[in-house]
């Protein structure tokens, strides 16, 4: 450390401290080896692994933090990342509709597309969203956010993920109670099958709601007085092809991406994941870790009632044995992709929280997120992003509950500065 580079000096970043770039290349090579090792088991896995890597890379590059998307609306009146999320949801919705239409051409006959994240709608959706919303603000990142931050070297995020694994484990132990008192009776409401909407009506309704939310955020930003920062045109003497290519590489690998670009890319990757197997979700793998840990110490959770009839990644936790699985490919791929992105950008660093309070905050936040994600059968990715794109009512209700939880969480963290 201690190397001083003037801001924006083209090429200066490329010359200094190459170890992070070398390590980044090693991560990419290792990822190729893992992809090759995966292919004999299930031919879909290498694809999912690559999409997981790309998602992690995109999350890190666009600093796509769902927790801040909700929290900063309250805290600073800023809707930067929420606007990116809405763009991503819109992109994914269009692609998902095509994939679902291939599986279920006539939505009015009662069949739901398999694998789509059409989750129960009821008190568990609201309670799960509230718990998750408080937890993600307390921990400073949702599950996907804490996963990519873990890869960047944030020790506080490791604690948050550990908390989430414990929370998901607690849910596995108590799931059957929730099933008997609430979940079993909750309907799965799928827009194309409601009010004769069909795919066209459901897509139009979802896009209209996303546009309305976008307009509402712009209004909120204007009301809060958040200035629109005008992009500064860098008039660099890009003389040679080499310099121009270098500047392009700088924009992709070093400078942060706009959240709108990040959202659109993540929406596209989500469509690819669904067209190969199932929509994007990240809690399933953590749930699998929790269950196998508990099993190894002789405290295996009971067989979860009704879970196999529900889509969503968290529902898949118990059904695969062995290391390589769908959830492994997508979730561990996310960590590897984010690690490579951080290394190429020279942004990897082990960062330890400055006070003991932050460790407790991350642990408590992780626990709440884990239990909430278990109850809602997904996190900000599976039960919100992928669920809205699945044309499911649950995604919108979970999103609204996240807003409520994030408001509570924001009040809480303002007291623990």
């Amino acid at each position: 450390m201690g190397i001083v580079a003037a801001a924006g000096t083209q090429g200066a970043l490329m010359r200094t401290l190459p170890w992070q770039r070398v390590a980044g290349a090693v991560v990419v090579l290792a990822s190729v080896v893992i992809a090759l090792a995966m292919s004999p088991g299930d031919p879909r896995l290498p694809y999912l692994w690559v999409f997981g890597l790309a998602a992690g890379f995109t999350l890190q590059r666009s600093r796509f933090c769902f927790a801040s998307a909700f929290r900063d609306l309250y805290l600073f009146g800023s809707g930067r990342i929420m606007k990116g999320i809405l763009v991503g949801v819109a992109v994914a919705t269009l692609g998902f509709a095509v994939v679902m239409r291939n599986a279920v051409p006539f939505p009015g006959f009662g069949a739901l597309p398999p694998e789509a994240h059409i989750l129960p709608v009821g008190v568990t959706t609201i309670l799960g969203g509230l718990l998750f919303g408080v937890g993600m603000v307390l921990a400073g990142g949702c599950i996907s956010g804490s996963l990519f931050r873990s890869a960047e070297g944030y020790v506080g995020s490791w604690v948050a993920i550990a908390g989430a694994v414990i929370g998901l484990g607690a849910m596995s132990q108590t799931w059957n109670w929730w099933w008997s008192v609430a979940l079993a009776a909750e309907p799965k409401l799928w827009l194309p099958a409601l009010f004769n909407l069909g795919y066209g009506g459901a897509v139009i309704l979802t896009l209209a709601a996303a546009i309305a939310a976008y307009v509402l955020i712009v209004w909120w930003e204007a009301r809060s007085g958040v200035p629109t920062v005008k992009a500064i045109a860098d008039l660099l003497p890009d003389d040679t092809v080499g310099q121009r290519l270098r500047a392009t590489a700088q924009r992709v690998f070093v400078n942060g991406w706009s959240p709108i670009v990040g959202g659109a890319v993540l929406g596209g990757l989500n469509i690819l994941m669904y067209s190969v197997h199932m929509p994007w979700g990240v809690t399933g793998e953590l749930s699998r870790w929790a269950n196998s840990l508990m099993t190894s110490v002789g405290a295996a959770p009971p067989v979860a009632l009704g879970l196999s009839a529900i889509g969503g990644c968290a529902a898949r936790a118990s059904e695969v044995s062995g290391v390589f699985s769908h959830t492994f490919a997508v979730t561990v791929g996310l960590i590897a992709g984010a690690l490579a992105a951080a290394l190429f950008a020279n942004e990897f660093k082990l960062r330890f929280p400055r006070t003991a309070r932050r460790y407790y905050q991350s642990l408590a936040g992780g626990l709440l997120m884990g239990y909430g994600a278990g109850l809602a059968i997904g996190c900000t990715i599976g039960a919100f992003f992928s669920s809205i794109a699945s044309l499911s009512v649950s995604g919108w209700l979970f999103g609204a509950a996240l807003f409520g939880g994030a408001l509570l969480g924001t009040k809480l963290i303002q007291r623990i500065a």
């Binding site: 801001a7 801040s68 805290l75 303002q414």
Partner: protein
Amino acid sequence: MQIDVRGEVCPYPMLKAVEAMKRLKGGDEIVVITDHAPCLETIPPQAIRYGYDCVIDQTGYPEWTLRLRPKVSAK
């Protein structure tokens, strides 16, 4: 005034910068030292909002110094 927020993640670096800008009311330069890249996108708009200019220097990998200077016209 110097605020060293290395090791802190969102929203604390920005909260502390905003708190300082509110307290100093454009009276003094504020230097924020951070190793959290999202600050580069979140602090500058807040600086403008409170009447400050923001100059970013990269001082490490990853480490940045954000100099928040009161705008003359803001007073």
